[in-house]
């Protein structure tokens, strides 16, 4: 048994036998012809082109009936085949340089592929496989060989290939392909798109897969966590079969509820927001299913690099997220460094007790220049959307006033420089019990707050959440936490200020119901919690969750709370 890593681009898990797919590879050698043969070579090119045209039109016509999306890929191939610049290029090489037809095709395509590979845009570079596919089709037609593809599989297998071209996958028989593994390819490649549309698990970028794997060898493909296991033993097979079963249920649920509007049975709209880290394309795919960004963990912009992110860089990233969300709010948490998050671009002293140390906004106060760079970037980006700025690790009114002072300073600087900036809302993260206790006072000083339940739990229960020796004392369902959260929610609701939750609890379907019962109407969570939380919301009424909240705050232990919630929500989940 050996394990290999890959890039999971299409969700799923499968165990099966390897089928190594090697498409027809035309042999192309540098070759020229005599002047008298030029005409014949041109005729060969015309014939190959006509043959390719016929094949492509047939595939496209076949797909248009039941899969118009995939038919478009072949329209793009026809477009390339008929590109006048390519056509001229091949003809010139035959006529002027006396190249043999295959050599002329090879050289011309290579030149154009090189040209495209220099374009910075990923989407354009992803067109290169299309060009290679068309080139291969032309060369094969020059050899007079018929097309081979994945339509001919007779038993269900795991298809392993160096790369799959659209032509290989378009005709594949879904029932015969358990999973796809390739040595190259990214998340936006054709293989990835096709695999997702067929719902075939796909693991791309498995280096050396064609050398490592043998035909008929049994492998487990885990395209959830990005792993491939060769020759799994019975125990491992059972593990993956169970994981596959659970995953299938999860995927089906997700699909059903991801797109629904989160309204309770008695008609109360709950805002479901997304937690993001870097604002990547994958993260923003969920923008359409969410009412805003409840937590933009900006510290990820500072991590894994040797230089601090510049103001311009931050403006660009913040604007990208703001633009994607339009009028919907985006809550940007200023950098939360320290504690469990270390930096390469900033040397920080090692502390005895980092979670109780100089972290988050405290660190920002220590390095005001870095803090102000971020605040300036946020203010400038705010012209692009609805930006709310939130300070982490606020423990007192002094902290709030100090942070707001820096915002004002940045505003004045930008105004003096004549740099345009936008309006922002200012809020705090409630994760230290001291500020939670005086939430009624804090609510007067800020526009909103968001409850960070992970740290609030850690600080309330006095448990270092990184220390496994005390993990059993870290009790998310501790009744004290629900009392504390209830106080914060009530205080902010009474002050007419927005309150949300962005810790793990927001995406925990049991706890989220209680939070709603405590008066919370905004829940933010990671993408994986969206569907199940939306499902819970649409199955409860407000009086029902209020009753649950009243019960929970009077139960004696976390264990009692969990048992009660599981029973109370059994019908819903």
């Amino acid at each position: 048994m050996e394990k290999f890593q890959g890039n999971p681009v299409s969700n799923g898990i499968a165990v099966g036998e390897v089928y190594k797919y090697v498409p027809y590879q035309a042999v192309v050698e540098e070759a020229t012809v005599g002047a008298e043969e030029v005409k014949a070579e041109i005729a060969k090119f015309d014939a190959a082109k006509a043959g390719a045209q016929k094949e492509l039109e047939a595939i496209r016509a076949n797909l248009e009936k039941n899969d118009p999306e995939k038919a478009k890929i072949f329209s793009a191939h026809l477009e390339i085949l008929n590109d006048p610049a390519l056509d001229d290029g091949v003809r010139e090489k035959i006529e002027d340089d006396n190249f043999a037809v295959k050599w002329a095709i090879e050289k011309t395509f290579t030149k154009f592929i090189k040209m495209l590979s220099r374009v910075k845009d990923d989407l354009i570079r992803e067109r290169i496989p299309d060009m290679q596919d068309v080139k291969g089709r032309l060369l094969r037609n020059c050899d007079g060989v018929a097309e081979v593809n994945l339509a001919a599989l007779t038993k269900p297998v795991i298809v392993v290939a160096h790369d799959l071209f659209p032509s290989d996958t378009a005709s594949l028989n879904r029932a015969m392909v358990k999973a796809i593994v390739t040595e190259v390819g990214g998340a936006t490649s054709h293989t990835a798109i096709i695999a997702r549309s067929y719902e075939i698990p796909a693991l791309l970028g498995v280096t050396g897969a064609m050398d490592i794997l043998k035909d008929d060898q049994v492998v487990a493909v885990d395209a959830v966590d990005g792993e491939l296991v060769t020759d799994p033993d019975a125990e491992t097979v059972a593990f993956y079969e169970e994981k596959a079963r659970k995953n299938a249920i999860h995927v089906a649920e997700t699909k059903k509820y991801l797109g629904v509007t989160p309204v309770t049975k008695d008609g109360v709209r709950i805002e479901v927001e997304l937690n993001i880290a870097s604002g990547s394309v994958q993260e923003l795919e969920n923008a359409k299913y969410t009412d805003g960004v409840g937590l933009f963990r900006s510290e990820f912009l500072y991590m894994g690099r040797t230089e601090l992110p510049t103001e311009e860089e931050q403006v660009t990233i913040y604007k990208k997220v703001l633009t994607e969300y339009g009028d919907r709010p985006v809550i940007l948490r200023t950098m939360d460094i320290g504690g469990d998050k270390k930096l390469d671009c900033m040397e920080l002293p090692v502390e005895e007790n980092p979670f109780l140390g100089n972290r988050a906004v405290r660190l920002s106060f220590t390095y005001p220049e870095i803090f102000k760079t971020q605040l300036r970037a946020a203010l400038r980006a705010a012209v692009a959307g609805n930006l709310w700025v939130m300070f982490p690790m606020i423990g007192s009114m002094d902290d709030i006033r100090k942070a707001k002072g820096y915002v004002e300073e940045c505003r004045q600087e930008l105004a003096a420089e004549g740099v345009p900036y936008g309006e922002i809302k200012i809020g705090i993260m409630v994760e230290i019990p001291s500020i939670a206790m005086i939430a009624d006072i804090a609510a007067k000083e800020v526009d909103f707050c968001s409850i960070g339940t992970n740290d609030l739990t850690q600080y309330s229960t006095a448990v270092d959440r990184m220390n496994p020796a005390v993990s059993k004392y870290y009790q998310t369902y501790h009744p004290a936490l629900f009392r504390l959260i209830g106080h914060v929610v009530k205080s902010f609701n009474e002050a007419g200020k927005e309150v949300s939750v962005c810790g793990e609890m927001g995406g925990d379907k049991l706890a989220a119901a209680v939070l709603m019962g405590l008066g919370m109407r905004r829940l933010s969570m990671g993408a994986s919690g969206l569907a199940q939380t939306k499902k819970m919301i649409t199955h409860v009424t407000i009086p029902q969750v209020e009753e649950m909240a009243r019960t929970v705050v009077n139960l004696p232990t976390a264990g009692d709370v969990e048992a009660y919630l599981k029973e109370a929500l059994a019908d819903v989940l």
């Binding site: 477009e79 610049a85 040209m115 495209l116 845009d121 339009g326």
Partner: protein, 93 residues
């Protein structure tokens, strides 16, 4: 020869489907048509070649010029400018 400039309005620029639409529209004309990026480097491409057009990588907000030469040059320029100005049917957000 006829030429006219405009600014690309749609969000995705001349990539993907808009690029295909553009090439298809250009190919209907007899004239030789070029599309040029109006900047310091003055890069231009055959408007009927999808590959050349893609390799220009034209984005939203960039100024381009359409240059046509041939019998239907006026109509070609007018049609292609109108197509770019229409935003290729992409809705504003």
């Amino acid at each position: 020869m006829v030429k006219k400039a405009t600014v690309i309005k749609n969000k995705t620029g001349l990539h993907a489907r808009p690029a295909s639409d553009f090439v298809q529209a250009a190919s209907k004309f007899e004239s030789k048509i070029k599309i040029r990026r109006v900047d310091d480097e003055d890069e231009e491409a055959d408007a009927k070649s999808i590959i050349f057009l893609l390799s220009l990588g034209l984005c939203q907000g960039e100024e381009v010029e359409i240059i046509a030469k041939g019998e239907d040059e006026q109509e070609a320029v007018d049609t292609l400018i109108a197509l770019i100005d229409s935003g290729f049917g992409e809705t504003e957000e």
